[in-house]
Each structure stands twice: as C-alpha cells, then as structure tokens.
Amino acid sequence: MSVIPLLLSLGLALVCPPLLLGVIHKTKAILTGRVGAPVLQPYYDLWKLLQKGAVYSRTTSWVFRAGPLVSPAAFLTAALFVPLTTPSALLSFWGDVVLWAYLIGVARFITVLAALDTGSSFEGMGASREVTFASLAEPALFVALAVIAKVTGSVQLSEMFGPVLGQAWRTAGPALALAAASFFLVLLAENARMPVDDPTTHLELTMIHEVMVLDHSGPDFAFILYGSALKLFLFSVLLVRLLVPVHIGVVWLDLVIVVAGLLGLAVLIGIVESSMARLRLIRVPQLLVTSGVLAAVGLLLVWR
C-alpha cells in the first residue's frame, strides 16, 4: 500500500467538503432561475469568518468555546476511518463503524452542550429539537449500517464499503437499496438539509441546526461551518460508495469515480431541496421513522 493515495484521499477529505455545499447551492440557484453565488463561495465565507474576531457572551463558560473546536475535531477523526477509495482509510480496525457513528454523536453532543451553555431559551429549543430528531435518526443509521454489515460480513468501514459490496448487490440488491434509501434520509436529516431543516432560513421557529449555533461568531463559526460541511462530506462518501461500488483497482480512476459520485449526489440534494418544501416539524419524526422502517425491512430481508 503506497502512501500517496492515502495522503491524496485525506487531502480530498480536508479540501472538498465546502465544495459540496457550493455545488448544492449552485444547483438550487440554477433550478430556481437565479445565477447564484460562485461554487467556491463557501470557501470565501470561511476565509472571511476566519479573519474576524470572536465575541463571547459573559454568561458562557469554557463549554461554549469547546464546542466549535471539539465538533470539527470529532468529524476529522471520523474522516480518518472513511474509505474514499478501496485500500485507503487511514485508520481501520474491526468494529470501527461503531466508533465512527459515536464520533458523529460526540460532535452532536458537544454542539448541543455549547448551545445550552449560552443559557438562551432560544438555543435550548434548537438543542431540544436536534436531540429529539437525532434520537430517531441514529437508530435508522445504525440499522442501515447493520444491513451493510450483515451483507458484507464485516463491521469495519473500509471492508463494509469495499469490493465485497459490489458482489453483495447481486445477491441482496433489494435490501441494500432499502439501506441506501434509509441512509439518504438520514443524511438529509443529520445534515439539516431540506425536508427536515431549512439551512438557509433564519426564521427562528423553523430552524433546528442553525439555531443552535447562532451565538458563535468569527473563527468559531467558521469551524462550525467547516465541521458541518465535513459531516455532509462523510455521509455523502459512504452513500456514494454504497451506491457506486465500483472498484477498478487504479487509485486515480477510483478517486475520480468517487468525486464524480459526490458531485452527482450534491446535485441530487440540490434538486431534492428545490423541489420539496420543508416538512412541518411534527411530520419530521414520521420521515425519520420511515427511514428506520426502510432499513429495518432491509435488515429483515438479509437476516431471514
């Protein structure tokens, strides 16, 4: 195993995330008949934020400051386990899928704590929503991952999304399709995308994720934005690897395929966002339960 592909994919993981956001925004702009911001706009935003200073409320404690640091860190750690191409997760061990899922959980936990630390009832509301929905999304995620684990006979991310998956599609296609559908719904929910949360709105009553991070500013907010972009990237990579289990063997080609898949997914998300209205809050749990049910049926199909 050479070092170059590893470094390359790590580099991609570090650089790419805001690009996905840019593509989504551009797609939405085109579909709604606007010119829209440049695809690279998220990078400019991050750069702008990094140059500003941060403001801290006097009522906040160290937890508030830890939030924006810990959550991107957790996502970065999680990124190490995600195989962009086949033999190329930097870290990998038996059962790392559980660690991966809980790293996502840690990031959410610290974000919620930071939001609560402000003492604002407003952010508390966002935190409460986030946790409520997460408690439905996480089981769905785990069940979907369990389907893949069962099909591939592995609980190691780089093997679960490895070459075995391609053959598994031939034997357990319906189950994997269900898992993919479930995973897509979880992706939308976890990343505060459209039918669940409107990432562009600043109407307080409808926001979920955005409302938790309102008090963060400057570099802190940049870290948070970068962190959430990275989270979207991580989920997207797994979904693309699930849907396009191509394994040619030439690292460059594989990487190109994955990146193309990522861009395609970003466009798809953009299309979903511009064609759907945000669900009423009381309907969101239903969507997440649907996602869980899809995955559960998939699990039943492979576990008979």
Partner: protein
C-alpha cells in the same frame, strides 16, 4: 429474473408503508394502484415454461382492474363526493408506521415457521403476502374513512393474491376470473355506497356510522 421478482416484492411491501404513512388520500389510492400494477406483472415472471393464456389473462385482468379501473373509480368518487382528501387515522402516522414495521417482523417470523411450501421461485413471496395482509388489516381497523377502508380491502386482496401466486400453476382460470369479477363488482358497489354515504352524511367517515348498535 429472481432479482427482479424480489425487487417487485420489496417495492410492493414498501407501498404498504406508503399507505400507512401518507396523509393524502390521493397518494394512498395511487400507491394501492401501483401495488396492483406490480402484482399484475408477477404471474408472468413467476410462470415457468412457455406463456399460457391462463397467465396472460390473469395479468391483463389484474392490470385492467387494479391498475386502471379501481383507481379511476376511487379518484372519481373522491372528486365527486367533494370530501376532504386528508386522512385522519385513529392511530397516528408515526405509530402506524411502527405498527407496520412490527407487522412486517411478525410476517417474516410467521412465514419462516410455516410448513414447507412447494418449490417457489422467490422465498420473499410468502413474507410479502403476509406483510401486505397484516398491514391491510391495520389500515382497515385504524382508518375511518369509507374510502380508506376500501383501500384496506384492496390491499387485503393484493396480499391474498400474492399468497395465491404460490400455487399459480394449479388454480383454474375460471376461479381466478371469478375472483376478479367478484372483486370488480364488490368495489363497484362499494363505490356506489360511498357516493351515497358522502351525499347523506356530508362526509365519508365511518366513525359516524354508529346509529345501529346493541
């Protein structure tokens, strides 16, 4: 081939959940219609050997009735009756979905316990049939609109049809056509009754059909 059959069966199962989770009557009618269309393809796929008139007639009948005629009839009733196209279930949507998931698990467990079946093309056939049966019962019990009860009945029929596919080779054509004819007449009469209900009661909620008791 086997993959295709499995895919159709899984889709048919998922449509059950769509009916459970959707609050729009129109969407539910379309889902059940689509389920009927999917099922109408199955006899042709499951049939081994050369294509018999039997199978083609069955498929065509299914397609014409469940895919075209019934949805048209129900949608027309929905429009003419000027009734609200929202479903107000006795059990909430999320709870319904969970009940549906439990029903699916039960169906899989049950069908794994069933005594051995004759050789079948797809091992998913019986679980899919059971799932559809159980969920149709949930729909029948928990939805109070006359139209949704008809939908539940159609889903029940779909489930039974799926089950009947296990012996698709041995059922005589006459019987199956008779079943289809009965089904047609049944839904037709139900349609008429629903029309009358919507006229007499200004709604089609059977929750209010409670004069007769004791």
């Amino acid at each position: 081939m086997a993959q295709g059959i499995d895919l159709i069966l899984v889709l048919a199962m998922l449509l059950n959940f769509l009916v459970l989770g959707s609050s729009r009557l129109r969407a539910c009618i379309r889902a059940v219609a689509f389920q009927g269309v999917l099922l109408s393809i199955l006899p042709l796929l499951l049939h081994q050997g050369d294509l018999a008139v039997h199978m083609v007639a069955l498929s065509a009948g299914m397609l014409a009735l469940k895919g075209v005629l019934f949805p048209w009839l129900l949608l027309r009733t929905l429009r003419d009756g000027s009734m609200r196209a929202e479903i107000e279930p006795l059990i909430g949507f999320t709870a319904s979905l969970l009940v549906g998931a439990v029903a699916t698990v039960v169906a899989f467990v049950l069908s794994s316990r069933l005594p051995s079946l004759p050789s079948m093309t797809s091992s998913l056939l019986v679980p899919a049939a059971m799932t559809t049966l159980l969920i149709s019962l949930v729909v029948l019990v928990s939805r109070t609109k006359a139209l949704t009860q008809v939908l539940g009945y159609l889903m029940l029929e779909n489930g039974i049809f799926l089950f009947g596919l296990t012996l698709v080779q041995s059922m005589p054509l006459l019987v199956e056509l008779g079943v289809l004819l009965d089904l047609f007449a049944g839904v037709f009469i139900m349609g008429i009754v629903i029309y009358h209900i919507s006229r007499e009661f200004d709604h089609i909620d059977t929750y209010h059909l409670t004069t007769l008791k004791g």
